[in-house]
Symmetry: C2
Subunit: 380 residues, 2 copies
C-alpha cells in the first residue's frame, strides 16, 4: 500500500475535513464546495457560532490527527482534478435525487495497491454486482462465477457485504482480476468484520474506497450514499439475488437515474431471493442476464470486442480483434492455405492478411507449414 | 359426449373430406376453399387424373366410413359459421407464414362434453401453457400450479404432450376448470398414449380438438400445424420450461405473429430448461411471468377484473366487480357505518351503495348489525 504522496494543500486538507463534517449524499454540496472553495466552506463552518450539526462537527474535528490516522492506514485522499479521480462521479451532480440523496462526493478515501485510474481505465466500464446478504447458494455461486469470468474485462465493484457482494469480490480475486470494494464506513472500520480477510486481499491487490474518513462507522444513510457511488463508478449494475426489499433495489435505482445499464439474473420463481430480479425484469427496469455473454453484449458497443486490460486468457478466441478473427476463421479445419488464398477467403487484402497472420502467430493461434502455407495451430 | 347433430350438408361433408385430403397449414388454402366452395374443390381433386398428392388422397378416401368412425368416437365437425367455431382462427389467414406454414383450419374435429364456445367464451381469453416434454420437477410443479390457479379465469389450452403440456392440463382439471387439448393427430390416435387417462378426463369434462380426422397419426409437420392452432385459440402463450430447441419456441413464434401475448416463466440460469424462457425474455419477445398475478395483469385490460366463467372461489375479493369492491373497501376494519356514510366514503350515491351492499351481503362479504348499520362480515 502507498499513499499518493500528494502534498496536503489547503484545498485537499479542507476536503478531507469536509468528509468528516458533512454526511455524504447532500444534493448540491459538491457544487457549492466547488464554487466557494473547500477552505472557505470549512472556515465559515468553524466561524459559525450556531449549533447546526455541521458547525458542531467542524469544531470537534482534529484534522491533523485524522490525516495521520489515514496515512497510517495507507489511505490516500483523491479529489476532483486528481488523475485518479473517477470522472463519472460528476454525473451525480446532474441527476435528480434518489430518496432525497444526491451529489458527487467531495473526495474519496482510497487504499490499496492499485490506483483507481489503473483499475477503472476509460472505456473499460466497471461492472457492479450487488444483491442479497442472505442469498442462496445458487446466487452465491452465480455471483462468484460471473465475477470470475467477467472481471478481466469489466472490473467488479461491490459493497463488501455478506452474500452476493463478497461472492462477487471473491470471484474477481480468484480470477486474478480487478475488484473494488466501496465501503459505507471508514477504511479502518471494516464492515462486516467477518469479511476482513477478503478486504485485506482486495487491499493487497486492488483498491478499497470510502467517502468517509477513517474512524467513521457505517450508518444506514451511509449505506444508501455508498450505493450511489457503486452505481456511479460502474457502467452497469447487475442484481444477482435480492428479496423485495433490499439495498440492491436502491443501487438499481441509482443506476437507472444515472443512465447505467441495469441487469438482473433470474432464478426460481419459488425463491424469495428472485423477487427483485424478476420484478426489475418484468417492469422493464432491468435486462435479463443469464450468463457472461449477456453482460458482454450489454456493456460492449455493438460489434465491439473488449479485450479487458486485466483479461486473463480464457478461451483463445475470446476478445479477439474481429480483423484477426476473420482471418483465423478463414483457415480450414485441416490443411493449409497461402496468404493470397486466405486473403480471398477472409475478404481482405493480402497485406492486411499477412499482418493479421503475424499477430495470430504471436498469439499462438496459427503456424506455417514447411512450404510456408498457413494452418491452424492445434492446442498441444 | 355428444355430436352436434348438425346435418351433414354437402359443404360440411366436403370440409370433412378436405381434412383428410389436405395437410394442415397450407397458406391460402382456407381462403381458396371459402371462395370456391369446399364441394367444388373436392370434386375437382377427384376429377383430376393427375398423380398430385391431394388427388391421390382424394381418390382413396371413403368419406362415409370416416364420418361413421368420427361419430362412433363422439367427435363432431365444427366449421366456419358454426356457433362453436372459434372466430379468432380466421386471423391465421391474415398473417405472414411461420416456417412456411399458415392459414386457418378448414374445420375442426371436436370431442368432449362441452362446446368450444362454452369454454372459450368471448372476452375470456384462453391461456396456452406450453413447454418442454423433458421438463424438470420445477417446471412441472409450476405448470400445474399456474394452470390450477388461472384456468377458472382463462381456459387452459395445451398440446397434451408429456411434461409441461400435461402438467398444465392436470392443473386445470384438478381445479375443476376448463382445459382444451389440441392434438396433432386424429382423436382416436391419442399421442402420447401414456397420457390417455388425462385425455379421457378432458373429454369427459371439457373438449379435445384436432384439425385431422380420426385415424390420422401425428406427423412432424402436424405438430407444427397444431402449434399454430394452440397459439390462435389463445389470448396469450405462456412458456414454462423449454430447452433452446423446443416446440414451445414454434408456438411462441406463432403467438408473436398473431399478436398474442407471449409470456415466459424464468428459472435457474443453471438449467438448460430455462434457456428458451430466458432467451425470449432477454430478447423482449416475451414478458416475464413469476406468478398468476403477472398473467392476469397481462391478459386483462388495465383495471379489468375478469370474473372468469369457470371461476372457482379462491380469495373472496378476487374478481370482485370494482363497484362492489369500492363499497367493500369503504367499510372500516372494525365498527359499522350507515349507508349514507358508506356512500360518501365510496364516492357513490346512496342508492348505488345500497344496491352494492345487497350484492355484497349475498356474497357473504358484509352484514348489518342490530342497528341496521353495515359492517364487514368476518370469515367464520
Amino acid at each position: 500500500m502507498s499513499t499518493t504522496g500528494t502534498a496536503w494543500t489547503p484545498e485537499r486538507r479542507a476536503r478531507a475535513a469536509l468528509t468528516f463534517i458533512c454526511e455524504p449524499g447532500r444534493p448540491d454540496l459538491s457544487r457549492f464546495v466547488a464554487e466557494q472553495g473547500a477552505p472557505d466552506v470549512v472556515e465559515a463552518l468553524l466561524a459559525s457560532s450556531g449549533t447546526a450539526a455541521w458547525s458542531r462537527r467542524a469544531r470537534c474535528l482534529d484534522l491533523d490527527a485524522l490525516i495521520a490516522r489515514a496515512e497510517a492506514l495507507g489511505a490516500r485522499l483523491v479529489v476532483p482534478g486528481d488523475d485518479e479521480w473517477p470522472a463519472p462521479l460528476a454525473e451525480l451532480d446532474r441527476i435528480e435525487p434518489v430518496g432525497g440523496m444526491c451529489g458527487a462526493p467531495l473526495a474519496l478515501w482510497v487504499a490499496g495497491r492499485r490506483r483507481l485510474d489503473e483499475i477503472l481505465r476509460p472505456g473499460y466500464g466497471a461492472l457492479a454486482i450487488v444483491g442479497a446478504r442472505a442469498c442462496t447458494r445458487y446466487g452465491q455461486a452465480l455471483a462468484t462465477d460471473l465475477a470470475s469470468r467477467l472481471a478481466g474485462q469489466f472490473p467488479v465493484i461491490s459493497g463488501g457485504a455478506y452474500g452476493i457482494d463478497i461472492a462477487a469480490h471473491r470471484g474477481a480475486l480468484a480470477a486474478g482480476a480487478p475488484t473494488v470494494a466501496v465501503m459505507a464506513g471508514g477504511l479502518d472500520e471494516w464492515y462486516p468484520k467477518g469479511n476482513t480477510r477478503v478486504f485485506e486481499q482486495i487491499l493487497d491487490e486492488w483498491a478499497v474506497v470510502s467517502e468517509l474518513p477513517p474512524g467513521m462507522r457505517p450508518t444506514r444513510p451511509g449505506f444508501l450514499a455508498r450505493n450511489r457511488l457503486i452505481a456511479a463508478l460502474s457502467a452497469g449494475v447487475l442484481v444477482v439475488e435480492a428479496a423485495m426489499r433490499s439495498g440492491a433495489v436502491n443501487t438499481a435505482h441509482w443506476a437507472g437515474a444515472l443512465g447505467r445499464i441495469v441487469m438482473a439474473v433470474p432464478g426460481p420463481v419459488t425463491s424469495g431471493m428472485s423477487e427483485t430480479p424478476h420484478r426489475l425484469i418484468r417492469d422493464h427496469e432491468a435486462e435479463l442476464v443469464a450468463g457472461p455473454a449477456d453482460v458482454r453484449a450489454l456493456l460492449c458497443a455493438p460489434g465491439e470486442q473488449l479485450e479487458g486490460p486485466w483479461m486473463t486468457p480464457t478461451r483463445p478466441l475470446d476478445g479477439l480483434d474481429p480483423r484477426l478473427l476473420a482471418v483465423r476463421e478463414a483457415l480450414p479445419g485441416r490443411g493449409s492455405l497461402t496468404v493470397d488464398q486466405l486473403a480471398s477467403r477472409a475478404r481482405c487484402t493480402s497485406a492486411a492478411c499477412d499482418g493479421a497472420l503475424v499477430e495470430l502467430e504471436l498469439l499462438g493461434l496459427v503456424e506455417q507449414d514447411e512450404s510456408g502455407r498457413w494452418r491452424l495451430r492445434r492446442p498441444r
